[in-house]
């Protein structure tokens, strides 16, 4: 069901949302998340960013995360688009869009996919700052966000 893409090219959020709804009359809710490069991260100005990934495993990991979401909530469709390569502040990095009959499921699944993508999909960011290049460090808050979905069964769903 899920549609997963890893690409260098920009994506069009409107087109991705439209792809979930076009020709359908059973979609009641589409929740979408777009993540972008900020010009400030961990207290340093960011002028550029490069996204590295593990080709092959990346797609498998994203498909697996989508399959987990689809098993957990009653969804109609899912899309994940993640960019790799060089990016600058203001550029979109990732899009997750989820369609469902009702909004609660679309919201929960969209946030779940983002939280799991942040901790389980093999992407790595390298930033260019006034102090030189640096690899972005994983955040404890991202692990906590992903952990919510495991503890106590339904998490925030």
């Amino acid at each position: 069901m899920a549609h997963v893409r890893v690409q260098e090219a920009p994506f069009d959020a409107g087109r991705e949302i439209a792809a979930l709804t076009e020709g359908r009359r059973d979609v009641g809710a589409v929740a979408t998340f777009v993540g972008l490069v900020r010009d400030l991260n961990d207290g340093a100005a960011v002028s550029r960013m490069t996204l590295e990934h593990y080709p092959g495993m990346t797609e498998r990991a994203l498909e697996d995360i989508c399959a987990q979401a689809a098993a957990r909530w009653d969804l109609l469709d899912l899309r994940v688009v993640h960019r790799v390569g060089p990016l600058v502040p203001g550029d979109a990095i990732v899009l997750v869009a989820v369609s469902s009959a009702h909004r609660g499921e679309a919201f929960a699944a969209c946030e779940f996919v983002m939280d799991f993508l942040k901790t389980r999909a093999p992407f790595w960011k390298k930033e260019e700052t006034p102090g030189g290049e640096r690899w972005v460090e994983a955040r404890a808050s991202d692990d906590e966000a992903a952990g919510r979905w495991v503890e106590g069964g339904e998490g925030r769903g």
Binding site: Y54, K118, T119, P122, W124, W135, A138
Partner: protein
Amino acid sequence: MVTLLYFASLRERVDCAREQVALPPGTPTVATIVDTLRARDGRWSAAFAPGLAWRVAVNQSMADLATPLKPGDEVAFFPPVTGG
């Protein structure tokens, strides 16, 4: 033989993106390979120091030190992920 891949900061630390290594006889695991890597020199032992945050995938699925290996496997080492 198994294929070893290194990504991101770990790749830079060991200055290697990809290599092929022989599997020792017996019932090799990820731990077997990591012991071999640590024994190479100070750079490698530092990169794979216990307690240091690195992750491993075998055949593109998340794995751990106990995961068994067989000839032809693809073993990837990398730091915690930071995408999205």
